[in-house]
């Protein structure tokens, strides 16, 4: 099972892609809780040059709450990550498939929620 859904934005700059992703997540009720600038971190820590790459952590509060009630350690798998990276032919956006990631939890109550979130993240 593929663990992500991806799309390449051909005519967007990296910053525009980040904005588009943020807006699209907001429309589906997801806020961005965490943001890791991988390029900046690798430069700072290891002095390595890396392509523009950000990890955005998205969360939908009602879903998070339901998930938490079903499985109290689910925070170990939250938030849902969306990655944005510069590739040769544009900017690639990939969102985790929560159905795949939540499978590991082996909790049936969660799989329904995961399917709903999957539909929204797509």
């Amino acid at each position: 099972m593929k663990y992500y859904h991806e799309k390449t934005l051909k005519d967007a700059s990296f910053e525009e892609a980040i904005q588009k992703v943020t807006d699209a997540l907001k429309e589906e009720g997801f806020g961005i809780l965490t943001e890791i600038d991988v390029k900046e971190t690798l430069k700072k820590k290891l002095d390595k040059d890396f392509r523009p790459y950000k990890i955005l952590g998205a969360c939908n509060p009602p879903f998070a709450h339901i998930a938490l009630l079903a499985e109290d350690k689910i925070g170990a798998m939250l938030p849902c990550n969306v990655i944005v990276q510069q590739v040769n032919n544009g900017v690639e956006v990939a969102a985790v498939d929560p159905v795949a990631s939540m499978q590991a939890v082996e909790n049936e109550g969660l799989s329904e929620i995961a399917k709903e979130i999957q539909a929204r993240l797509k």
Binding site: Y3, Y4, E6, G31, L33, T34, I36, V38, T41, L42, K45, L46, K48, F50, Y53, I55, G57, C59, P61, P62, A64, H65, L68, D72, K73, G75, A76, M77, L78, P79, N81, I83, Q85, A94, A95, V96, A100, S101, A104, V105, E106
Partner: protein, 154 residues
């Protein structure tokens, strides 16, 4: 021995496995101290906290619902992260590795859970990445032994 210490001691001896995380309970720490000690223990293992997120605040602000305090810390080692990203360009989806600190309903009991990166990293079905998950797991799971010790006052 108080009930609180008894629960903590029993739990301390037997870590709880879920299919995706390893957890341990502590009775001698306040929530704030537990979060700080987790941060210190991660630091000792050369795992940097890149995310700190209070889920209880988020639920309260957005839904007006009270839940027990619940903090999600995202930890990462830059060298391991670079290795993972060089192997699989979408490995960022599995990063960082989470450690959660939550207050339990039993008063004064704090539970710390560390994700099992061999489970999250195996999503990619990439053997090299799964091996890296094992390396990360060794480091991450050791922190459970250090959380209480770093609070010992002589």
């Amino acid at each position: 021995m108080s009930d609180k210490n008894k629960i903590a001691e029993e739990n301390y001896k037997e870590s709880m496995h879920t299919p995706y995380a390893l957890s341990r309970r502590y009775g001698s720490l306040t929530f704030e101290v537990a979060v700080q000690n987790v941060r210190d223990a991660l630091n000792q293992m050369e795992l940097k906290v890149v995310n700190h997120f209070n889920l209880h605040d988020h639920i309260q602000e957005n839904l007006g619902k009270e839940i027990n305090r619940y903090t999600i810390l995202g930890a990462c080692n830059a060298e391991l992260a670079l290795e993972a990203l060089s192997t699989e360009n979408k490995a960022g989806i599995m990063l960082p590795c989470n450690v959660i600190v939550q207050e339990m309903d039993n008063e004064g009991i704090i539970e710390v859970s560390v994700v099992d990166p061999t489970v999250t990293f195996s999503l990619a079905k990439n053997e090299k990445l799964t091996t890296m998950g094992t390396k990360a797991k060794e480091r991450l799971h050791q922190i459970l032994d250090h959380i209480e010790k770093s609070n010992v006052k002589l």
